[in-house]
Amino acid sequence: MKKIGVFVCHCGVNIKDTVDVEKLTEQLAIYPGVTYIENYMFMCSDPGQNMIKKAIKEKKLDGIVVAACSPTLHESTFQNAVEEIGLNKYQLEVANIREQCSWVHNNIQEATRKADLIIKTAIEKLKLNESLKPVSAPLTKRVMVIGGGIAGIQAALDIADGGYEVVLVEKKPSIGGHMIQLSETFPTLDCSQCILTPKMVQLGKNKKVTLYVNSEVESIDGFMGNFKIKIKRKPQYVDPDICTMCGDCTDVCPVVVHSEYDEGLSWRRAIYVPFPQAIPASFTIDTENCLGFEPIACGECKKVCQAEAINYDVKTEFFEEEIGAVIIATGFDLYPVENIAEYGYGKYPDVLNGLQFERILSATGPTGGEMLRPSDGKVPKEIVFIQCSGSRDPERHKSYCSRICCMYTLKHAKLYKHKVHDGQPYIFYIDIRSGGKRYEEFIQQAVSEEGIVYIRGKVAKVYKKGDKMIVHGMDTLTGKKVEIEADLVVLAQSIVPSEGVEKLIKTLKLSSDDSGFLMEAHPKLRPLESLQSGFYLAGAAQGPKDIPDSVSQASGAAAKILALMSKDEIQHEPIIAVVDENMCSGCGICIGTCPYGARILDENKVAIVNDILCEGCGACISACPSGAAQQKNLTDDQINNMIRVILS
């Protein structure tokens, strides 16, 4: 049996005034298991700690109970003290007789009785405590970032800056994400491409960064610190190292399709550069639209390529990367406007979504930055912007607020005014949400100086009359119906998780919220981490976010990873679940209760615990019907003994 030493603290008068420490010492001295007991004015002081150390040495104690303040305050102090003398820190228990006893009770007799019980529960628990070591595993110092938008780029650059290798996986032919499509950014109205392209170039040139474009994650093996991730790279048929970007190939290509970069407002060929500043800077062949080269149906591009960069024989390749941690930065897409039939998107060319309008505003866009509407190329004199198009509509569309639409719609209206001085923008809104730095000022300035008309209410429908788009809405402040004859309608669609992220979540076994955004480990305290160890979140993949927030989260996630990488191995608390393999029936109930995927059925049908993934909540233990699962240092026996002593 353990030789236990009990040390009762007076905490000056804080404990001593309500708890009779002398009586307590007397009573507990004869409690089974207690070989040594002492009380002192301040156990946390140096003399107090030395008293414990001395007793361990002299009395050969192998378990310590300190009855003092809450363990939140000084548990680690006492743990360090006992470790100094060679006792495992899990052989120390703190009995909380201040916050949960002397401070909340008045009657000395009652408080002493309760303190006695509190200390006895600590003794009972300690009797069965094991000496534990932190769980540790080796760590691969290499990071994967999935998604090459602003969040992914920022995270990759920060990690590379920290000195670790980064593998960036992007499903499109170039990095840049949605930010590269934007014209100007709110609230400063600085050019989006001007601030993004230097970062893209920096990333493209960074020796620590391996870039996989046209690629997706195929499968994953292993766990935090030691993932093996398989990447599937679709061929682009043009070798980026050889391609000189002369553009001869695109001139001869006979295929014309909608440009993704211009959101369908312009055209591109089947061999194309996604956009002028693309990284990697290279042409690429879009096999879905190419006339085909198996067998070669056209082959014109290859004939004219003097650099001989085009090779039709390239196949889909698979790469395996060893990775320590992963950042998911898969971003967003816009809610399909086709889902809102009454706004006439797809039916009328002059109903646009926000990204399309960005392209019209952009100097690199289909109109070269001139404000012209798609149907007939006229300058729109009246524009209606519809906010919350699909957002905050729990009955039919998305229930959440998409966060960025208030600001970018106003930015659209402003930029429009700057281009068409006599134009009139109208904005339909539900509420204006401008909770960012200098956002409210941005709004106020526009309303007072730029003549933008805000109408509070929703739009019922949009239809065409002659060459005008008639917008029917309701002004809920006056209670009147509003009808506006507009030249152009711009819809601020809800932000939804990017296409394909659902599949990625399944592949990586992550969790998402009910809207499909990636779920953070804790909504307030762990917003950068996924629930699953080793995965971190950045940008709009976690929820609608503007650029500053995406960048902050990306840098934050990168900092988390740098902290992780700074150690030689990964370690964490050993207070985790453990399984008695002989008792486990392999029913698998625990697997469903574990939010971390730490319980797995092995080949012998034993539900084992992955020590690295287990966080120690204990949900699986209380769910285990056979009692095979136990929590280290909080076993059923320990809890039961504590219950018995309380009720004795």
Binding site: I340, A341, E342, K461, Y463, K465, I470, H472
Partner: protein
């Protein structure tokens, strides 16, 4: 094949041509519309009362009688009757408590309703059971050259759970018109309310609505309007007299029941008596287009 149908009051009064043309057109499609026996008013006027049980009773009484006659379904022509009957049916089928309440209320009639009658609008039957492609094959006189605006009104597609088509962007009427060879034109007010019962107490409201609806159809190039609701048909057609007095730029436009156009297209011809039931006589238009 026989289809049991529920006519409702208007089909026996000022919408007689709706019923007649439907029966004729359906015969051409080898379906016989058989009127259910012993029916009563669907109770639609009570839909304005606040007692939600009260307004269901007339409908439930019809459902009870249909069940007693061993009918499995009821086909309805009038949008309003369709909406009222279907809503009452859902009310008691989806909530057993409501069913019990209704059954208790009707204890004197000594009937219990099992909730197994299905309510269909004739348009759904045309689309889903017969199929527009089948109808297209039987068209004798294509309505080509006739530009028609499909007017849904409110009750055919609202509320969402009773709608016979997508409630924000329906196309069933347009599809039928194309099936019959006509040209259907989109117009903005096709889903707006016609003014409905306001016509009794606040006629000016309805007159304004009718003007807006018909004018928007005219502006889109429509030469005629087609509907499935006797109340809409009444407002849109007979209020044209008042609209004319109020708005100088107004031009009359004929309002058809969709079954009338079906009858014409399927080769039943035009019954002279139908003209007298319209305010704006559609006969000249049909003649002009060479359809009769």
């Amino acid at each position: 094949m026989k289809l049991p149908y529920y006519p409702g009051c208007t089909l026996k009064a000022n919408a007689r041509h709706f019923e007649k043309s439907a029966i004729q057109a359906m015969e051409k499609l080898d379906f016989q519309l058989v009127e259910m026996k012993d029916w009563v008013c669907c109770g639609t006027v009570f839909s304005m009362t606040s007692d939600d049980l009260m307004l269901q009773l007339a409908s439930v009484r019809n459902l009870l009688r249909a069940e007693k006659q061993n009918l499995k379904e009821l086909i309805v022509l009038c949008s309003m009757c369709y909406n009222t009957l279907k809503r009452a049916n859902d009310f008691i089928v989806k909530d057993k408590g409501n069913l019990e309440k209704v059954n208790n209320f009707m204890y004197k009639e000594n009937l219990t309703y099992s909730g197994k009658i299905e309510i269909y609008h004739l348009l759904s039957i045309l689309k889903d059971r017969i199929g527009f492609s089948v109808i297209a094959e039987k068209v004798k006189k294509k309505l080509s050259a006739l530009k028609i605006g499909a007017y849904y009104g409110c009750l055919l597609v609202r509320p969402e759970e009773l709608a016979i088509d997508n409630f924000e962007d329906p196309s069933i009427f347009e599809d039928l018109i194309s099936t019959l060879g006509g040209e259907s034109l989109d117009f903005a007010y096709k889903l707006e309310c016609c003014g409905a019962y306001q016509t009794v107490t606040k006629k000016d409201v309805s007159v304004k609505r009718v003007y807006e609806i018909l004018n928007s159809a005219r502006e889109s190039g429509c030469e005629a309007i087609v509907t499935s609701c006797p109340l809409c048909a009444y407002n849109l057609d007979f209020l044209q007299k008042d609209v004319e007095e109020e708005y100088l730029d107004f031009n009359r436009i004929p309002v058809f029941y969709f079954t009338e156009l079906m009858a014409v297209a399927l080769g039943c011809g035009w019954d002279k008596n139908w003209s007298s039931l319209h305010f704006t006589d559609p006969e000249p238009l049909l003649r002009e287009k060479g359809l009769i």
